[in-house]
């Protein structure tokens, strides 16, 4: 049902990394996918948990975990394979890339086995045949009947999803607005920016049963089976694994397990979720977000600073061809990093580098942000070094201090003092920019707030909470930095 451009991105990254490492394509010939999973003892499932009742976050005994009918399907497959299931959350956009780069073994995320996707990954049989509904405000119930009632109005759908494409194709005079997350779409509906939201029937029902303001109407879209069915996806060429999974999927289908067991079980989580939707109830989730945001920021500032110093020194290297080469490299690096979006860098480190070494998302995020920050810090430091009077260097050299000692003991301390405010700003910027790693599923503040939002069906409150939290973080940080700045002002 979702995303198309992810295929393109996946392709680009696969091509890119394929060029770097040979043998990625050889896997199709010798398929040991099943044996590998069994050897590992775990089956890693990727999913985007913002799509109840397929998959969503629920608080179970004080712990947040991913639940939903897809997780039940994944558990069944893992159990039948005799291995443990490990669920990895990430944005829907990232799922297929994660599959192709080996971050996950399997993707179950309410995904339709469309022909386009089939070119890039292998699907199991269908484990669930859904359909589409349109969610509307209950007050409008008399006005809208189906997809054709929205002439001159706006309906929403998840960006790049099948619903989105079909809504565009199969409506006339209707504006179709795409947003990434369903909870945002519902928010748009409730604030009357949208008159309807097209989504899968079970999702629609979950939303309607949890929110008295909403109602659902049939979509009457003309759809092929592959557009409304859900399958598990595996890496292209892992036939043995797909065949094994198909045994489980067939059982699920034959015994009607989804409707009989999985959906009702998922519904229970949904019900418990609506009991207590106060933000205070979720303090643990927010605290975790703060914790991760701080971990990412502090680590990235630390490593970014070291990298920045090295880059700045390399950019000022003088001497033979070696030094010229070093300078050229450092300059190219700084220009390149500053000329590409941090989001792309984060994705590249996680997925691209992930082909060579399997880095956890948190570490990938820290690496990517450090690499990014280093380039900016390098420029501050270079400016800081240039701002130190040349007489300082001359005095130090005339005392017999080497170039290195002069830099380390005389120039750098003064340079750092001069650029302390800029470095402080960089730190504060990083507190905010670290939110980018939410796309690879690191539980920092934005990610946690999205979880709380899909958990509580409350659109604005979690955003307000993290806004305040971000402000507290940045404000405290700037107070602390000011304190140190004043302490350095003795001359």
């Amino acid at each position: 049902m979702k995303k198309k451009w992810v295929l393109f991105l996946a392709l680009v990254i696969a091509l890119f990394t394929g060029a770097m490492m040979t043998g990625t394509t050889a896997q199709a010939a010798s398929d040991d996918s099943l044996a590998q999973v069994q050897k590992k003892g775990t089956l890693v499932m990727g999913t985007s948990p913002d799509y109840p009742p397929y998959e969503f976050q629920a608080t179970v005994h004080g712990k947040t975990k991913v639940v939903g009918m897809d997780v039940a399907v994944g558990e069944k497959i893992a159990k039948d394979l005799g291995v443990k299931l490990e669920v990895k959350s990430m944005s829907f956009d990232s799922l297929l890339v994660a599959l192709q780069t080996g971050k996950v073994d399997m993707v179950i995320s309410g995904m339709n086995p469309t022909p386009a996707r089939k070119k890039n990954v292998d699907f199991t049989h269908t484990y669930y045949q859904g359909g589409y509904s349109i969610v509307i405000n209950k007050a409008d119930k008399g006005i809208y009947k189906n997809k054709d009632s929205f002439k001159g109005k706006t309906i929403g759908a998840q960006t790049g999803s099948t619903m989105y494409n079909e809504s565009k194709k199969q409506t006339t005079d209707t504006t179709v607005k795409g947003m990434t997350s369903v909870s945002d779409l519902i928010l748009g509906l409730q604030s009357h920016k949208l008159q309807g939201v097209a989504m899968e029937k079970p999702s629609a029902e979950a939303y309607v049963s949890n929110n008295k303001e909403l109602a659902s109407i049939p979509s009457d879209f003309d759809l092929s089976a592959s557009d409304t069915s859900a399958s598990a996806a595996f890496k292209k060429g892992s036939t043995s694994l797909v065949n094994a999974a198909n045994k489980s999927v067939d059982q699920i289908k034959n015994q009607n397990l989804v409707n009989k067991d999985y959906l009702p079980a998922a519904g229970k989580y949904l019900k418990t979720n609506t009991v207590n939707t106060s933000m205070l109830h979720y303090w643990k989730a927010f605290l975790k977000g703060v914790e991760y945001t701080l971990i990412i920021t502090v680590c990235s500032v630390f490593f970014g600073f070291i990298l920045g110093v090295l880059l700045a020194l390399a950019r000022m290297a003088q001497g033979g061809p070696l030094m010229t080469g070093l300078r050229w490299l450092a300059t190219a690096y700084v220009e390149f990093i500053r000329g590409t979006p941090m989001m792309v860098q984060v994705m590249f480190v996680y997925f691209g580098l992930g082909l060579v070494v399997n880095l956890p998302a948190l570490m990938s995020g820290i690496i990517a942000i450090s690499l990014n920050s280093g380039a900016y810090v390098a420029e501050y430091i270079r400016g800081g070094i240039n701002s130190v009077d040349k007489g300082q260097t001359e005095a130090a050299r005339s005392l017999g201090m080497s170039r290195g000692y002069t830099m380390r003991y005389v120039v750098l301390p003064q340079a750092l003092k001069n650029i302390w405010p800029s470095l402080g700003n960089e730190f504060i910027t990083l507190i905010k920019d670290s939110s980018i790693v939410s796309i690879i599923g690191v539980s920092e503040l934005i990610f946690q707030s999205n979880i709380v939002r899909s958990d509580t069906y409350r659109g604005v409150a979690p955003i307000a909470v993290i806004m305040v939290l971000y402000f507290i973080l940045t404000f405290t940080a700037s107070r602390i930095l000011n304190f140190f700045e004043r302490r350095m002002q003795h001359d």
Binding site: G391, Q392, L399, M401, Y405, M488, D491
Partner: protein, 246 residues
């Protein structure tokens, strides 16, 4: 006959097209005080900076204690620089360090002197320049005269064999010139070898062993202070003296 401590042979220096030093051959004997005078822009600073290789000569050589600095590796140059203290017009104290730290830094980092010994030596030097009560002050709180005396103490902390002074009193208010010159005189009396670029003719007359008059990239005249001031040999020097002694 004593061996010269500094020998300059056919030294030339240009910055791009600007030929600053044309052909200088001179020598400094141990214990000598040389005063270099001459018109502004004549290359005096450049010459002084060539002596400790802060400026790389374009051609010619500078020998220190018999070693040709221009052909040595950087490490050896650093070692020889320790033996040539330098005092700058603008003091160039390290603003982020106290007076004491300014003095201790190089001995501790370069010579690996331990903290106690470096501190002890720093206090001795501060006493010598009459500033021991300012040991914990930061440079920004010092007057120009005090700052320059700290700079002298800092250079002395490396136990140099030669001291180079580049217009040490030019940036000072007139009432502070005396305190700095007194410290320098004291140093000369103790037998320190010194090369001093200055416009203080009184200092040149009373302290210098030789006066080098520098203009247009040459040492135009190398003379005793008595003869130089009473009976300058070159027209260039006569001209210069008539302008400043009026």
């Amino acid at each position: 006959m004593t061996k010269p401590i500094i020998e300059v042979k056919s030294l030339a220096k240009n910055f791009g097209d600007n030929v600053v030093l044309k052909d200088i051959t001179e020598q400094v004997d141990p214990g000598q005080v040389i005063v270099v005078i001459g018109p502004s822009g004549g290359g005096k600073s450049t010459f002084l900076r060539c002596l400790n290789l802060l400026e790389t000569p374009t051609s010619g050589e500078v020998d220190f204690n018999g070693e040709n600095l221009t052909t040595l590796d950087p490490k050896r140059v650093n070692e020889l620089r320790e033996q040539m203290g330098m005092v700058f017009q603008n003091f160039n104290l390290f603003p982020n360090m106290t007076v004491l730290e300014n003095i201790k830094l190089a001995p501790m980092k370069v010579k690996a002197v331990d903290d106690a010994a470096a501190t002890k030596r720093a206090h001795e030097l501060l006493k010598q320049v009459n500033l021991d009560d300012h040991a914990d002050a930061f440079p920004s709180s010092l007057s120009g005269g005090q700052a320059q005396r700290v700079a002298i103490a800092r250079a002395l902390a490396m136990d140099p064999k030669v001291m180079l002074f580049d217009e040490p009193t030019s940036a000072l208010d007139p009432e502070m010139v005396g305190e700095v010159l007194n410290v320098m005189k004291e140093l000369a009396n103790q037998g320190m070898t010194m090369v001093v670029v200055t416009h203080e003719m009184g200092f040149a007359k009373s302290v210098a062993d030789r006066v080098w008059f520098m203009a247009d990239g040459f040492i135009q005249e190398n003379n005793t202070p008595e003869s130089f001031f009473s009976d300058p040999q070159t027209e260039r020097a006569q001209d210069f003296l008539s302008k400043i002694l009026m």
